[in-house]
């Protein structure tokens, strides 16, 4: 495989594309080492790594899949750490009234006014699982469940709101920040859902000697700034 | 109703430029392979849009390149018997036969299904698919389909070419009746001398896309020089009644007041026959021949004399009440000094009237 000395192959959750593209470019400029990043769903990437994909570094959007790989002895456990965090937010169309505090008293059904609540798959995709948990803990899930439109990934939920097809949606703060067509309505309190964490680790048998350097670079200031600018929670460790 | 055709059409390497009139009755299109017969028929049917020209039937224009008229095929009410069958593979024989009836106007005269099926001998095939038919069976179904569609014009492109002699002899009388009974023009393509002679009212001879000869059948057929068919095709039909069956296998037929001998064992005494007497089988003698193998020596008188441009002549004679035709040479006309009114003997072999040329007068009703 042409995993040349000067190249690192990074498998990263699709939602990290913007950040990793920018950080990789910086890294290449600094070290001369090329970074090839493969973006897809965390589940797909994890399975590929399980089956011997030539990845050096894995950035997952969920701890579950990283756990799965660790359990199967496909990553170097010692290199694993939590890179960044994220927040879960409720969004609506742009140019709406200011954000509010979401609580057990929030009447989501009223706010939906017959429309749909856009979420990622609530039993499968991390953003959807987090959202469902949060709503459950707030006691809102029972009432709103029939109105939920589930998408195959969080980005599609964002699109539904962005296009006006759904009046409300639950996505990550980073998504909400990047899309001008949506506005932030509420941020779910951290205690309503498990921490949203993007773990990273070296893949077992990583071929590129520069992979560790890239891992280190991800924790550096330059990378932190990129993540922070995009709305990720940095230093969650 | 008369059909009037004037067409120009070009294929790469072939130019059609033909005009002719087809009055009621059967107009035979005759010409060598590739002379443009099917092309003309297709244009009449509306399947080919000619480059130029005019086609009308009676007062109705079917096609006119000047006025840009082109009546679609489905509105022309034609019964087209295709050179290559073209049966519907997904329909049974019965459905194929009935197909045209679905679209015929209510007012159109219906042909009798049973009768046509019977004549064509396809009754046992009615529930079959066309793929399971023999070549000749297919062709017979195609004939039936066209005839049953209540057409106001029939186009028949070599309809009988694939059929055996006996079957032909069963179907030809039907066309004869169509010709005589219905007032519709029939355009009929054939290479067969027998068919042309028996059926043609009018003959149109094509050569390389051009009409080289057209006219009433009698005139064209009696001209030995015009086509290869001229020599073999003239003849008359004669009606008679079986008078006796002789023990040596010969049948005696009374016709027009005279006795004829011929082999026709299958017909019982008293039944009515029609016989085709071909002009070239008739010899004329001014002296009664003796000790000759010909069994039929009929006294007659010359009725008309028509000399061709070539060596041939067509002599019409009255034998009893029958008018017969004899094709002889001009040299013989002179040698025997034949004139209108000359008494002669028509000499005719018994075997010259082959069994095939014998049919009931009304084959089936």
């Amino acid at each position: 495989l042409p995993a040349a000395a000067g190249q690192i192959t990074v498998f990263a959750a699709a939602s990290l594309k913007e950040a990793i593209d920018e950080i990789s470019a910086d890294f290449t400029r600094a070290t001369g080492v090329e970074v090839a990043a493969s973006y897809a769903g965390s589940s797909a990437l994890a399975r590929q790594i399980e089956f011997g994909a030539p990845a050096d570094v894995f950035l997952s959007a969920s701890t579950e899949w990283m756990d799965h790989l660790e359990h199967n002895n496909r990553i170097e456990p010692t290199t694993r750490f939590d890179l960044v965090g994220n927040r879960l937010v409720l969004i609506g169309p742009a140019a709406q009234t200011a954000a509010f505090e979401i609580s057990a008293n929030t009447n989501l059904l009223h706010m939906l006014a017959g429309g749909r609540l856009a979420m990622a798959l609530t039993d499968a995709v991390p953003a959807g699982i987090y959202g469902k948990t949060a709503l459950q803990r707030l006691g809102l899930w029972e009432g709103v469940a029939p109105m939920v439109a589930q998408t195959d990934n969080v980005r599609a939920a964002l699109s539904l709101v962005s296009l006006g097809a759904a009046p409300l949606g639950i996505v990550y703060a980073t998504d909400a920040q990047a899309d001008q067509n949506v506005s932030l309505r509420a941020t779910f309190p951290p205690h309503t859902h498990p921490p949203i964490i993007y773990p990273v680790a070296l893949v077992k048998g990583a071929k590129s000697p520069q992979a560790q350097a890239f891992l280190d670079y991800l924790t550096g200031d330059a990378a932190d700034k990129v993540f922070a600018d995009l709305g990720f929670l940095v230093g969650a460790e | 109703m008369s059909l009037s055709v004037s067409l120009k059409h070009g294929f790469a390497g072939f130019d059609l430029d033909a005009s002719f009139e087809a009055p009621n009755g059967i107009t035979m299109l005759y010409g060598r392979s590739g002379s443009g017969k099917t092309t003309i028929v297709n244009a009449l049917a509306g399947l080919l849009h000619p480059d130029q020209g005019h086609i009308s039937i009676g007062s109705q224009t079917l096609f006119d390149s000047k006025t840009r008229q082109h009546l679609p095929a489905s509105k022309r009410r034609i019964g087209y018997i295709f050179q290559e069958g073209r049966l519907f593979p997904h329909l049974s024989v019965r459905q194929n036969l009935k197909y045209g009836q679905w679209f015929a106007p209510r007012s159109a005269p219906r042909s009798d299904f049973e009768q046509i099926v019977d004549m064509l001998g396809i009754a046992p095939l009615l529930e079959r698919r066309p793929t399971r038919l023999s070549g000749g069976e297919k062709q017979r179904v195609a004939i039936g389909r066209a005839l049953l569609s209540s057409p106001q014009m029939i186009l028949a492109d070599e309809p009988l070419a694939a059929l055996d002699h006996a079957r032909k002899e069963e179907i030809i009388p039907y066309f004869e009746r169509l010709r005589d009974a219905l007032g519709i023009p029939i355009l009929y393509v054939s290479h067969s001398g027998t068919e042309i002679a028996r059926l043609a009212t009018t003959i149109v001879v094509l050569q390389d896309g051009r009409v080289v000869r057209q006219g009433p059948a009698g005139a064209v057929l009696s001209d030995p020089d015009v086509t290869p068919l001229g020599a073999t095709a003239a003849g008359v039909m004669v009606q008679g009644r079986v008078a006796a069956q002789h023990p040596d296998g010969l049948t005696e037929v009374q016709s027009g007041g005279l006795s004829w001998l011929l082999p026709a064992a299958a017909y019982p005494v008293g039944s009515t026959l029609r016989l085709r007497v071909e002009a070239q089988d008739v010899m004329l003698a001014t002296e009664k021949p003796r000790s000759i193998s010909a069994l039929n020596v009929l006294p007659a008188t010359v009725a008309t004399l028509r000399l061709g441009d070539g060596p041939g002549a067509l002599v019409q004679i009255k034998a009893g009440e029958n008018l017969l035709l004899a094709r002889i040479t001009r040299r013989s006309v002179e040698a025997l000094n034949l004139k209108v009114g000359t008494p002669v003997y028509a000499v005719l072999k018994a075997v010259s009237i082959p069994r095939g040329a014998i049919g009931d007068q009304h084959p089936r009703q």
Binding site: A149 | A73, S74, I78, Y80, H90, F103
Partner: protein, 230 residues
């Protein structure tokens, strides 16, 4: 069968319904389109041909996204349709629409190939027997292309059973309303260790589609026998 949860049963039933209506409703359009492409001569035919094939070329997600842009209530088309009572967004009808559009090029191709195989001489013969163009079509062309239409429809049905990307993008995944089998399968695949559950649903998809295929083989063999081919 208690090895399927009620929600999974719903998904099976919905997939069948979606695929059935997707196939049935696109059939007339596919016939017309195939006919235009096989026989028609009009300006922009190549463009039209291209547009028909778009769903095949585009990643399904993009198709779903375009559908969303066009048929959501916010969009002019979607709004206009909703005024006459036709709503696709977040309904099973939307899933059917997505499946129909994804399967459309397959159906059209199959029908078109069979139309091109029909001998125009037979249609001419029908015309001489008095059949107008519509009747020629109904009594000659259509019966002759029936095997192709069958093949195309079953292909479309199978595709509709398996369609996922465009459907979930367009109408999301609302259990009991738009959650088809593939969405359910996808969901299981996202969860580590749930491959077994996914497999069950995959097997069901396969059984359904295979039955449809088998049916189509039997039907088209019967049709072919009637037509007398091979």
């Amino acid at each position: 069968m208690d090895w399927l949860s009620p929600q999974e049963w719903n998904a099976v039933a919905l997939s069948l319904r979606v695929a059935f209506w997707a196939t049935l409703c696109s059939l007339p359009f596919a016939l017309v389109t195939a006919h235009l492409l096989a026989r028609g001569r009009f300006p922009g035919k190549q463009l039209f041909n291209g547009i028909v094939h778009l769903p095949l070329i585009l990643p399904p997600v993009v198709t779903g996204y375009i559908l969303l842009l066009t048929f959501s209530i916010q969009a002019p088309v979607g709004y206009a349709l909703s005024q006459i009572g036709i709503v696709f967004a977040f309904r099973w009808t939307g899933a059917a629409l997505a499946a129909a559009i994804m399967a459309f090029p397959l159906m059209v191709r199959a029908i078109r190939l069979s139309i091109e195989a029909v001998d125009p001489k037979l249609e001419e013969a029908a015309a001489t027997l008095g059949a107008s163009r519509v009747w020629v079509y109904l009594t000659v062309t259509l019966p002759l292309i029936l095997p192709g239409v069958l093949a195309g429809s079953i292909l479309a049905f199978a595709k509709a059973i398996g369609e996922f990307g465009a459907t979930i993008t367009f109408v999301s995944n609302i259990p009991g309303q738009t959650q088809t089998l593939p969405s359910a399968v996808y969901a299981f695949l996202q969860v580590p260790g749930a491959e077994g559950s996914a497999l069950r649903l995959v097997v069901i998809s396969i059984v359904i589609a295979m039955s449809a295929l088998l049916l189509s083989e039997i039907l088209s063999r019967r049709v072919a026998a009637r037509i007398g081919a091979a």
